[in-house]
Symmetry: C2
Subunit: 487 residues, 2 copies
């Protein structure tokens, strides 16, 4: 593609237009906004705030410097020099036609005009346009700055700009799904609309509440669909017997009264073969077993990411952990190091070397420290009260490898627990095999002042009790050592 000046025009702000503005801006484009709404600047600003806190960190490299954002009183001003014009005005065809007419009398003739329409076909948008070939559907999904999907729907009129449009959308981190055969509501919204109608029936008929329907989605198939879609999921469900078998098996259900809306395509041999062939082309490179493992790896990663957020299915898992773990308190016997972690190594803790990644050793030791803190009284309630411990220094020794599924155990010895200082030594084992040690210096801090402070009296007493008991233990091997100095 020819190098283009990175200038985009946003016609129509709001949540969708604002999302487009944020994506272009944060990917280094200058963004020029036209929206007669006096609230436009505030609305786009709010979307931009959300985008700035979430999008840059999604990337593992630094994004290009943010472009310049400007608001314009006239369309003529807004489209000057623009190579991409995104229209996100309300879903009224005559309004869109009016906007395109104004746009095409003012904008560069080789700019691309993308419409955010969720329903109209590009041929409808192009009708009576000055240059029909300039107008395409580029239908995004909210939040536009995070979700990659954009449906690029074109007609024969658009033949010359499809490649450019795909390249520009890809360059701002989106996935242009090119839909050549236009249809009302494109692809995704047809599926969404089907679910929406069915959900309305469920509420209407008093079968389920909105919360129950949402739970039925996010604790079940929603987790599958974040990684694989409908057909790949069913390919796995069909097992070694394949897609033809799956459709043969579940086809009859289509004739049962499972939805309010009963018209279904005839499952002719031709249709079944087409689906099976397309599924082979899509997923045939992986065996069913490999697909199952990929699915499970992804599910574990997604579930554990939600667990860290204590949200949705992740909150369920945390509740289950709490039920299994029971109450947290100091063990009766303080003459030995305290078991602070006992868990299986999860799939998402391993890396390209096939073993637990170095950062996850520190994760486990950090969890061990958190557990010790909770045991001596620096728990969630104490932290909510405005104090905590911060780690200031860490020394790790990796002694042996460990793989996913192995149960690891961390035993913790308090070397010093006095005043502001907490000096701990963790040893990680798999059975009798020592895997690693972690030596950590923590400082008690005021979260308000963000500086060292004395712990509360209950915490201090409890910690002193452990430190005193542990003082009788031998100094562990590796304590007090520096990197590369073996004695």
């Amino acid at each position: 593609m020819r190098p283009v000046p990175k200038i985009a025009t946003i016609v129509g702000g709001g949540v969708i237009g604002g999302g487009w503005a944020a994506r272009f801006l944060l990917m280094g484009w200058d963004v020029r906004v036209f929206d007669p709404d006096p609230q436009a600047q505030r609305k786009i600003g709010e979307v931009l705030d959300n985008a700035r806190r979430s999008l840059p960190g999604l990337s593992d490299v630094v994004l290009p410097p943010e472009g310049a954002l400007s608001f314009h009183d006239t369309l003529e001003d807004a489209v000057a020099g623009s190579v991409w014009i995104q229209e996100s005005v309300p879903e009224r065809l005559e309004l869109k036609h009016k906007v395109y007419h104004s746009l095409q009398t003012l904008c560069p003739p080789d700019a691309i005009i993308g419409s955010s329409t969720s329903g109209f076909k590009p041929s409808e948008l192009q009708r009576d346009a000055i240059r029909p070939g300039q107008i395409v559907v580029t239908h995004p999904f909210n939040p536009v700055y995070l979700l990659p999907l954009v449906e690029l729907v074109t007609t024969d009129e658009n033949a010359t700009l499809v490649a450019d449009a795909k390249e520009i959308l890809t360059s701002v981190g989106m996935y242009p799904l090119h839909v050549g055969a236009e249809i009302d509501a494109h692809i995704a919204d047809r599926l969404l609309e089907a679910v929406w109608r069915e959900a309305l029936w469920l509420v209407n008929d008093g079968i389920a509440t909105t919360a129950e329907i949402d739970d039925a989605i996010r604790y079940g198939f929603g987790l599958r669909w974040a990684q694989m879609g409908l057909f790949e999921t069913y390919r796995i469900a069909g097992g070694e017997a394949g897609m033809c078998h799956f459709i043969g098996q579940f086809g009859p259900a289509l004739k049962w009264p499972w939805t309010k809306l009963m018209d279904v395509p005839d499952l002719t041999d031709d249709l079944i073969d087409r689906i099976a062939d397309q599924s082979d082309a899509q997923s045939g490179a992986m065996s069913i077993r490999a697909l199952e493992r990929a699915r499970d790896d992804n599910l574990v990663s997604i579930l554990r990411s939600l667990k860290a957020r204590d949200f949705g299915a992740g909150a369920l898992l945390n509740a289950q952990d709490a039920r299994i773990a029971g109450l947290v308190g100091l063990p009766d016997d303080l003459t030995r190091p305290i078991v602070t972690v006992e868990r299986a190594v999860p799939l998402d803790w391993t890396d390209y070397n096939g073993h637990m990644n170095e950062a996850k050793y520190l994760q486990a030791f950090g969890d061990a420290t958190d557990r010790l803190m909770a045991m001596v009284g620096c728990d969630a309630a104490y932290i909510a009260g405005g104090s905590s411990y911060f780690t200031v220094e860490t020394h790790l020794r990796h002694l042996d490898e460990v793989h996913a599924g192995t149960v690891i155990r961390v035993e913790t010895q308090v070397l010093l627990g006095q005043g502001k200082k907490l000096h701990v030594f963790h040893r990680m084992f798999a059975g009798d095999r020592e895997l690693a040690t972690g030596e950590h210096m923590l400082i008690h801090v005021s979260l308000e002042a963000r500086r060292a402070s004395e712990p509360g009296p209950v915490l201090a007493r409890s910690l002193a009790q452990v430190a005193e008991a542990h003082a009788a233990l031998p100094v562990p091997e590796g304590a007090g050592k520096a990197v590369g100095l073996r004695e």
Copy 2:
């Protein structure tokens, strides 16, 4: 609930029955299987293999010891002492009735018989049963050992066992969604069936392939549905104006020809109010802004978990990173430390203290080490050739806090790069502010032998070049220090 012996009977193996067996077993239950299929033992074994590698690590605590798995030739044998009987035989009502009749003449009368049926109503299952009240629908989702959702559908006959059923299902880590108003296909499968029909139309009409439909799901709304469902998502889309406004705005689209299946409930004031009230009860405790932030935090976490797996939307993000970063090579100027990481702190790197979690410092330093390795020639191809570096020792100093969104930079100095040893020192900055240092000793290893080995000649030469150039730099402050020894 009374304490119960943890004994479950699985009637009908296969993928679903095997998934139930795995979940009960790994949660400490004894599992007794009855399935006349001579392949049952192999099939359940395969599901169990998948479950053993994925489920235990999902938990942050160690699961109870695995129960005992046994296969039985007679139903009588299989149900002995069982408190939970899960029926997963094929979806033929007369077959299920036959199974229940045999079961109820043999099993303890207070055991719960759950059916995995995805379509039949519990009243249909209970028809002509010896003890109708013993039979409920417990419809799970594949993979049963990972997805929490189970639809618990009951009739008035089941009144006395609902609480027990919920408690048992919860105890094995599931989320029993209690559906009191029975309906064909319960809740989730009605939604799935609606999508499945619509998808079949799209393939049938040549609009999209199976792969395109799957991409439309997993790059878009599938990511939303892994955390929030349909209604909470639309509540956010509706913004401050609320659910009534949203339905009013998008209601007309229901009358447009957006799906093949057009019957929709009338959007009466009563229905709209009911949805708005239910949505308030579900999500009203959070403002729209708070919901937006929760959604974005979740999306970032999910997307980054998929990124680590290089799968689905995560693979798109990695490709985007590669496009932004360009080629990896050593900088021309080796008289200064090398910039090995430059990135914004992602939302999922922060913890309950509101700042970047200690383990993520090591993550960033590990990424810096990986980048340095790739620069000197220990890249993915070299590692695929059977050699790599393993970290054996690490020393971290935390000097200052950093929050999500801040751009961090890691500058890397090679202290030693000779023979099998690689000794590096990373300094992390936000602008001029020094945040942390990481000192690491790595050893070059043969991945086959899992022991120290000499690096290849090209890598050794490249590393020596950097080490020689960096030898002229001053020894960084903090190098060679042990925890707690400030001197």
